[in-house]
């Protein structure tokens, strides 16, 4: 069964057609609203932003990407530094321990002074 379209639905469809540049006719009850829609269409003209602003915003968008890449690089570098630091500390620890063991073993191996 076909559903009855409301005035709001019919007006919305008429606005669609109006915005597409088509000629629109509606019944008398909706004609004042359609006239208001026509007035809006010819009044609310596109307002392009200034070229300086466009360039600045494009730069900011690019800059944000640059900042993100830099941050990622720094994070990666920081990670490498931490890993290198941990390895170095471990190596130093192992070295010191090995030296201490070696010194102790040499001391025990030497004959005692009389």
């Amino acid at each position: 069964m076909p559903t009855q379209r409301t005035p709001a639905d019919r007006l919305d469809q008429a606005v669609d057609a109006l915005l597409a540049g088509e000629h629109v006719t509606l019944d008398a009850s909706l004609r004042p609203a359609l006239s208001a829609a026509e007035a809006l269409r010819s009044t609310l003209l596109p307002v392009p932003p200034g070229s300086r602003f466009q360039a600045a915003l494009a730069g900011r968008i690019h800059g944000d990407r640059l900042a993100e890449r830099t941050l990622r690089a720094v994070n990666t570098t920081r990670g490498r530094l931490i890993a290198a630091g941990a390895v170095s500390s471990a190596a130093v620890g192992v070295g010191v321990t090995a030296y201490a063991v070696w010194r102790t073993s040499r001391r025990h191996a030497r004959p005692a002074h009389r």
Binding site: T6, P7, A8, D9, L11, D12, V15, D16, L19, P32, A33, L34, S35, A36, A37, A39, L40, R41, S42, T43, L44, L45, P46, V47, P48, P49, G50, F53, Q54, L57, A58, R60, I61, D64, R65, E68
Partner: protein, 190 residues
């Protein structure tokens, strides 16, 4: 009785921006395509809503930077990328209006009377005066009706898309638009 929210999930293929969004999610450099596609419309919405070029620039910048930040989290549901972007723009503009306690009176956009350069001066003056009346009447509309009018006529969003932006059903948006146009007709006729 409450009106059931309209079910309008769309497949990505229905969204004309789907490919550009996917590209931007893979590589943010591709966001520039979306930026260029929507810059004028977001700016125009902000300008007509806030009534000032400087404020419109600020709101436009915030909108695109927020969109860039959130593009990874965007998923193709609802009315598409355009509605998602204008939802950000709408929230940004609403915050600006709240924080500045600004009543959005609408000044004429620059270059308004350059629309018909060959028209005779009397026609231009009459047009400019008519334009002022229309903009004044739009500025006097209740906020929700004004927002629907701007999103529909400045940005060309459909009722479904405006519903996504304003968190209303498409039917409720159509009713708001109907009321707004009747209201405007009465104001312009007075």
């Amino acid at each position: 009785m409450t009106q059931a929210p309209a079910a309008m999930p769309r497949e990505p293929r229905d969204d004309p921006d789907a490919a550009a969004v996917r590209a931007a999610q893979r590589d943010r450099r591709a966001f520039e395509v979306l930026y260029r596609r929507y810059l004028d419309r977001v700016y125009a919405y902000a300008f007509y809503a806030l009534g000032d070029h400087h404020d419109a620039e600020d709101a436009t910048e915030r909108t695109f930077l927020a969109a860039l930040k959130g593009i990874d989290a965007y998923s193709h549901t609802g009315a598409g990328f355009r509605a998602w972007l204008f939802r950000i723009a709408h929230n940004t503009v609403s915050n600006a209006m709240r924080s500045r306690r600004r009543k959005a009176t609408q000044p004429l956009p620059e270059g308004w009377d350059r629309a018909a350069p060959n028209a005779d001066p009397a026609t231009l003056v009459a047009r400019a005066e008519e334009g002022r009346r229309v903009l004044r009447a739009v500025g006097e509309l209740p906020l929700d009706r004004r927002q629907v009018v701007l999103l529909r006529f400045v940005d060309g969003l459909s009722a479904a898309e405006i519903g996504e932006v304003l968190d209303r059903s498409p039917g409720a948006v159509r009713v708001l638009l109907h009321r707004a146009l009747r209201d405007l007709a009465a104001r312009l006729d007075a």
